[in-house]
């Protein structure tokens, strides 16, 4: 009976400002009209696990699905077993568990001279006929912020032989994320991320990760 949990951790380094929106109940005139999601206790920006999971899944769906899936429940076997599929009997709960990524380098940013952990970017829309401007403000988590990323992969009897294939998909997902963007407004520069200090370790049970180490070093 094999049962193990493997943790893949990394630091998410923001190369451009990141905007993951939050629902705003009230915005005063002149104040930011689209705020970013923040940790309610510390008020630092965070990257919710659901954003990483959703983005990674939809990116991998373009690679690993044999035919175009109209909705997540039509995903192929590899994605279903990793991310879960409420329509299938055996993969009701996926093998991956994502975590919210919290800001790690708040102090370092302060030393560098950052006045806050978010910036407000002014942008505008210009009408093509009248050339009239329509300004907007968007809040972003500032560049050079570092967030702690973590994902847990579960190994049971059924998944023991597929572990390598599964983790290869996760690593592909990270690579695709680096080539894509996280959060909103990515087509105009937001949300370029890099995964640094990628580590893999077994945190529960016994599973040999030495072969997977090489995979990480060569791929990302």
């Amino acid at each position: 009976m094999t049962y193990a949990k493997v943790k893949i951790s990394a630091n998410i380094h923001l190369e451009t400002g990141l905007h993951i929106g939050a629902s705003n109940a009230f915005a005063a005139i002149g104040a930011t009209d689209s705020p970013v999601i923040k940790d309610p206790m510390t008020n630092y920006p965070i990257i919710p696990g659901s954003s990483i999971k959703g983005k990674m899944r939809s990116l991998l769906a373009k690679v690993y699905n044999e035919k175009l899936a109209a909705s997540p429940k039509d995903d192929g076997e590899i994605l279903s077993r990793l991310f879960g599929n409420h329509d299938s009997k055996e993969f009701k709960i996926g093998r991956l568990i994502f975590r919210d990524a919290f800001l790690l380098n708040a102090e370092e940013l302060e030393q560098k001279g950052a006045r806050g952990y978010t910036e407000v970017k002014f942008e505008n829309t210009i009408d093509r006929i009248t050339a009239e401007a329509n300004p907007r403000q968007i809040e972003r988590a500032i560049r050079d912020s570092v967030f702690g990323f973590e994902v847990i992969y579960e190994i049971t009897d059924e998944s023991a032989e597929q572990a390598e294939e599964d983790l290869q998909a996760v690593v592909d997902g990270l690579k695709l994320l680096e080539l894509d963007y996280l959060g909103g407004s990515g087509s105009r520069g937001y949300g370029k991320v890099a995964f640094e200090d990628l580590k893999i370790e077994t945190v529960f049970g016994s599973y040999d990760t030495s072969r997977l180490h090489d995979l990480l070093r060569t791929e990302v």
């Binding site: 309610p40 009997k89 055996e90 709960i93 945190v203």
Partner: protein, 299 residues
């Protein structure tokens, strides 16, 4: 009987109370038991765990906050009327009654004062927050998740009988998480096992004939039910929802199960049960843990 205190430090969690956009502050023992049972199935130790849980002295408590010192739930029906301070002003009296009604948890060292009629303030342990999520490029796929973020010094604790298997399952659960929306970042915790403080340990019992307060959301066996209801002061809480199963294609609802909330007080202890609340026609049992641990109110 070696009871230990299991300290769980969460950052953010979602403990639904029937809906995705509502969350309780802490979780009850049946939620933990079900999570541990699923871990046990993955390890192939479900038989072993079930027979451990069915032993008479195996008990679990609900989770309560821990901030430097353990907190206990408010005993329902206490303080007794003759212990309350005499106030002639009706407005003041109503104010005090409201304050006591809103109180949820009591610090262990103030517990005795509360029974003797002292007014206490509610403490703040964390913040409830609501986040909106969506599925892009689809209509009508907006949903909200209520989450709870704990203060840095606050963790949750529960009391259980220590055994090797139980510890192993708890350690595995750290990485699976507990509560709702686990796969997208909620409900992860760090575990610490501690001795139960002596002041608390001397009050713990699962078998006493004096006034007791239940520390677990529990239901007595049928023989004890009439007596428990006659002398007890309690609140009912509903436990229901979908049964998680990998042997059925569609999702079925569990049978609704009503229990006495933690904090209910009784004139003597009762025996709890591990009820099978499987949907009709289900191929395997669905357990709901309802075995109480008690706190002796008077020594």
């Amino acid at each position: 009987m070696t009871y230990k205190m299991y300290l769980l430090s969460f950052q953010t969690a979602h403990f639904g109370t029937g809906k995705l956009d509502s969350s309780a502050f802490a979780f009850s023992a049946d939620r933990l038991f079900s999570a541990l049972f699923i871990e046990a199935i993955k390890m192939g130790k479900e038989e072993e765990f079930l027979s451990l849980a069915q032993e008479d002295d195996f008990v679990l408590s609900d989770a309560f906050p821990f901030d430097g010192m353990p907190f206990l739930p408010k005993p329902i029906g206490y303080p007794k009327r003759d212990k309350l301070p005499q106030v002639n002003d009706v407005a003041e009296q109503r104010k005090q009654a409201k304050k006591t009604k809103k109180l949820t948890y009591i610090r262990l060292d103030k517990f005795k004062d509360f029974l003797n009629g002292k007014l206490l303030d509610n403490q703040d342990f964390g913040k409830l927050n609501i986040v909106t999520k969506n599925q892009p490029f689809k209509d009508g796929h907006l949903f909200q998740v209520r989450t709870i973020t704990y203060k840095e010094t606050v963790s949750l604790y529960l009391i259980a009988k220590q055994s090797q298997l139980f510890d192993e399952l708890m350690k595995a659960l750290q990485f699976s998480g507990l509560g709702g929306k686990r796969s997208s970042g909620y409900g992860r915790f760090e575990l610490e096992i501690k001795d139960v403080p002596e002041k608390l340990a001397e009050h713990l019992t699962f078998d006493a004939a004096s006034n007791v307060m239940a520390l677990t959301t529990a239901l007595p066996v049928d023989d004890d039910l009439t007596e428990a209801m006659r002398d007890g002061q309690y609140l009912l809480t509903k436990s229901s929802g979908f049964a998680f199963s990998s042997s059925h294609q569609s999702n079925y609802r569990k049978q609704d199960f009503y229990k006495f909330k933690a904090g209910s007080t009784f004139s003597k202890s009762f025996r709890g049960q591990i009820a099978d609340i499987r949907p009709i026609g289900f191929s395997h049992p669905v357990w709901n843990f309802a075995k109480p641990l008690f706190y002796k109110l008077e020594v």
